[in-house]
Structures are given as structure tokens and as C-alpha cells.
Amino acid sequence: MKTVSSLALAFFASGLLLVVPVRSLHAQTDCLSCHGDSTLQDASGHSIGVDGNKFHSSVHGSLECSNCHTDIKGYPHPDKPAAVQCETCHAEEASALAGSVHAKASEPSLHGAPNACLNCHGSPHQIVAKTDPNSPVYPLNIPKTCGVCHGNAAMAKKYGLPNVYASYIDSIHGFAIGKEGLLVAANCTSCHGSHKILSHRDPQSSTYRTNIPATCGSCHVGINEQYQKGIHGKAVAAGNPNAPVCTDCHTAHGILEPTSADFRMQSTPVCGNCHRDKFSTYRDTFHSQLGLLGGYVETARCWDCHEAHEVLPASDPNSPIAKANLVKTCGRCHAGANASFVGYQPHANARNRRLNPALYYIRLFMNLLLASVLTFFLLHTVLWLVRSRFQQVKSKPAGGKNA
């Protein structure tokens, strides 16, 4: 196999023979006369071959080699040419990257690539437009590209990266991208941006808590409108950082189809994180008892009655739990629901005498009945057991199975 040094030696020898001065290199063809050999390697064994055809059809195909490899003016050139500076042309992207969470990743030592840009954009001489299905940053390819680092458990552990590829790719977005090839489905960059990815703790970040509704809303316009009208959206807009945003219920990466059993099972307790008393009384009801076990997911969850996005208090006439709307709301599941039926209290508290006196006394009566019957008969049974045993032993003084 040829190496640079042997080639250089050959050139040097021919130069001596022909007494040709150092040639200046301009055209790609000049460089490709050596680097067009795909097996070409530098002294440390890295390939330095360039596929001329692919380079020509790349976005940079019209450029001269020296436009990027600026320190190479002619031949022979230094053994170790300087690293290519993409920011010479792509200044905006470079400065965005420099301020991002990936700024550190641009240290060349980190991933072995000579230039951070290449981690995502791929082989430097084959960079194609992001609209080209071969591009690693084509929408359908982005999850896999980001997943090289963010789906690698060992790497995630070593550098403390969020390892989210697996949960994303199984999500409703990941399914749309990976299985259905849906270009408009959210890929990593849809929410995180591309060059200026900021930590979700940074208020400027598109994934900062209070920015999330706007981020998701850039696609889910209708849902965001409903959310903004609801009590949670208003609270977030008013600066309440504890009010729930999209990701609190839907999670960030492993977003499930909201009608799926898994989603309905997993999201019910989320509301209970804040609405503790309502969740506790919900847990006492048949809705919850049925719903907890799975397989019967159509039992009413919080959002089935309260709406998921346009959550409004009962005092609001537009609320599904406003008194005038209850027959309709309950009637979604309970065919034949009437005015008396909706008098059922889905959050009744049988332990609270003030709020639910009838229920409180019924429960008290039942508990007393339970306690008195069981206590009396327990005593009765224990005494009987002891007496019978005594009688049995007495009547069979010697031998016998239990003597």
C-alpha cells in the first residue's frame, strides 16, 4: 500500500529529475490526483482519500480544496495541515454552537472527529443539503444522528448525557419518524433547535419550562390554543412555574398516544402531584379502583371530565364540570345519565363529616357493624376453640391423635 511518505518521495525524486519548481495547486483535480485514491492514508493511518464524484455532488462541490484547507498553498504541502475552520463561512452557526451545550463537545479530543461540525454533518467531503435523504441531518435521519451519542449508554454514562434515543424512538413522534417516515413529525431539532441547543435550565432555551407550550405549540397550534385558555396555561403565562406544561403530563421524549392504555395508566397520578386531596378522593371511587388495574382503561381519568388542555373551574360556564354541563359530560360514558345521576360526587370524601355527612354516617355505621360483628364472633370462636380442645383432651387422657 502506498503511503504519503513514499508518494512524497516519488514526487520529490521526479521534481529533482525534471527540475520543476514547487507547483501551486488550484484545481480540485490537482489534489485529487493523489487524494482521489481511496486507500490513501496519512502517517497515523487515517484515510485521507476523497471520493471525487461524491465531493462534486456535495454542497461544497463548487469550492476549491484550498477554500477550506487554507494553509495548503501548493505542493509539497505540510505533513499536518491545519484543521478546517467551518466558521470562516458558517459564522452564524459556529457562534450559535459555541454558546450551546455542545460547545464542550467541539473539543476535537472528545469524539475523535477533527471538527465538531462533522459529528452531526458527517464526512467532510460528502456533506449534502439537509433536504437530501442521505444527509445525516435530514429530518428522518436526525434521531439516529443524535442517538450516536444520546442513545449510547456507555457514552451517556461517561459524559453525563441524557440517554433518550430509546424512549424517543418508541414514542409517538419517534414512531412517525422511524416507522412512518413522516417528515413533519417532531425530531430532536424540532424542539431543541440545532446549533444553539441550550440546557432546559436556561430561560432562553426552547425547552425551558415556561417556553415548552410555545415550543410544542409551534406544531400543535390547536391544542396550544386550548391550553392557553385553560387554567394551567393562564397560570404559566402569569409566571407560575409550578403550573403544568405539556411535558408534565406527556413526558418529553417517551410521548405516548394519548388514547393508549399505557398513557391513560401512567398519567392519572400526575395530576395528583399537585391536586393531592382530589386525587385521594378519586382513589376512593369506583372510577379509580377499576382504572388502577389496567385493561379497563376507559374508566374516567381526570381529563375525561375536566378536559385535558382547556381545564376550567366548575364556576366557568364553559367548563365540562359546570353544573349545567354535567349531564352531557357524564353522558359521554354513562348512556342515560340524568340530573339525579350527575348528583353523584366523583370526589366524595366519606371521611369528612362536614363535606359529606350522609356518606360519613353510612361509613361509620358500616364500620361499627363490621367491628361489632367480628369482635363478638371472634371472641365467641376463640372461647369455643379453647373449650372444645379442653373437652377433647380431657375425654381422651391417654394416646389419641392430639394428646
Binding site: 371511587t285 369506583f286 388495574l293 379497563y296 363490621l370 372461647l383 373437652q391
Partner: protein, 300 residues
Amino acid sequence: MPDDVESAMKPEEAVQPRESSVAVAAPEARTRYVLRFTLGQRYLHAVLFTTFLVLAATGLTMRFSGSVWAIRAAKLVDGFGTILFFHKFCALILTLAFLIHVREIVARGLFKREKGIFWGPTSMVANWKDVKDLVGHMGWFLGLGPKPKFERYAYWEKFDYWAVFWGMVVIGFSGYAMWFAPFFARFLPGWALNAALVIHSEEGLLAILFIFSIHFVNTHLRPDSFPMDMVIFTGRESEEEFKNRRPDEYRRMIREGKSAARITDAPPKWLINFSRVVGFTAILIGLTLLILTLSAYIAG
């Protein structure tokens, strides 16, 4: 225990009289049996305990749906739909059995004017003797007097009967109120549907705790019956056993000259074996459910 000792003890065990100080060692051929329960009554009990076990198992899973075992059980049968289906299915069977029983009582007691349905020694209705028996029995527990002479149905058996009767009305009614909530809401206020669940689950728990602890011990597991009283399965008990357990009924039987009609042959071997398998399975399931219930209570 060495094998020879165990086998040597077995015959003695088999003829050991219950509550009796007189050992009866009559050969089996001469042992006479008395019919205590008709085939219909035995079938009723079988339907009752089979559906009750399923209702209890499914009901407890719903009642303690947050517990580990409930969630596992639900997963095992592919979620809640199956559990609710079996609960409702057995509820229907049990309701049917209950209605057949009530129909029989009404027919025999009201239309045919059969004696002994609503009063007298053969009735399930409590009477003054039951009060005396209860006091006397408690006295005997404490060594304060002789053991009362029980009639056909002792006071605790009548309590069992009425507990189940009342339980079926209450649990059944509240259950159907929840099942057909919009229909029942035509006659009931909305909060009654809240009350239905409280009543249904508390009364159900009472039934479960009562049957799986007190009924099991009183009827099957106490030393005189241990490990199981087979009479509800075979329908008959030996004359000696019958005489010792229900002396008043025995005396009445002789007095009324009805003994010939009630004397029957020994239960066939297959029936005894079958009853053992069924009975022990039921008791085992019941005790398991009792432990699960108590564990769910303790775990909160």
C-alpha cells in the same frame, strides 16, 4: 412421625366421635347415617360458595386495587375487564340462586302452608331457645354449665344464614345500583351512588372476613370438626355424630317417629373423596383471600 404409628392411628381417628366422651367403634357396615341436607340444599350451598369465592377474589382485587397482588392478578387475567366480567357473571348466578331460594320459601311457607318454615324447631327464624342456647353455650365455654342441646339449626348457624341473606340483599342491591347506575338514579339521589360503593365494599368485606375466619372455624376447623365438616357436601352424618351434635333434634326425630324416613346409607366413597377435594380447595382459597385481605389492610 413413623409410618406405622400414623397408620395405626388412622382407624381410631376415623371413628372418633365429635364432642362425645363415648368412643364408638362400631364396624362401618353397622353405622347408620342420618340425612341432614337434601340434594337441593347441598347444591344451593355449592353454588353459594363457588360464586362467593369468585366474587370475593374479584371484589377484593377491586377493593385493594392499589396492592401488589391485585395488580399482579389483574395482569395475569389481562386487566380489569376480565375481573369485572367474572364479578358480574357470578353476581347474576348468585342472584338467581337467591331468587330460587326465596321462591321456594314463599311457595312452601305461604302457598303450601308447610309447617316449620317460619317458626318451630326446623325454621331458620330465631326463637327464644336460640337466646337461651347462646347464653348457655357461652356459659359452657367458661365452664359455668352444661353444653346446650342444639336443635336442627343452632343459633350460630341461623346467624350465618341471616348474615348471608341480609348480605345478599344489601350487597346485591348496592351492586346492581352501581352496575345500572343511570337507571337507579331515576329513583335515587346522586349521592346514593356514592353510598352504594361504601356499603357494597364494607358489607362485602364483612362477609369475606366473617366467612373466611368465623364460619370456617365454627363449622370446619374447630377441633370437633377438624379439618372439615363433610355433612354439607355428603348431606348425611352418622347417627352417633348426629345424636351428639343435635341431641334435641335427635330426640324429636325419635319422638315424632320420623327416624325411619331420615335414616340413609353411608355416603359413597367417591362422594367423600370428591367432597374432600372441593371442600379443601374452597377452604384453601378462602384462607388465601383472608391473608391477602389482612395484608392489604396492614399495608394500608
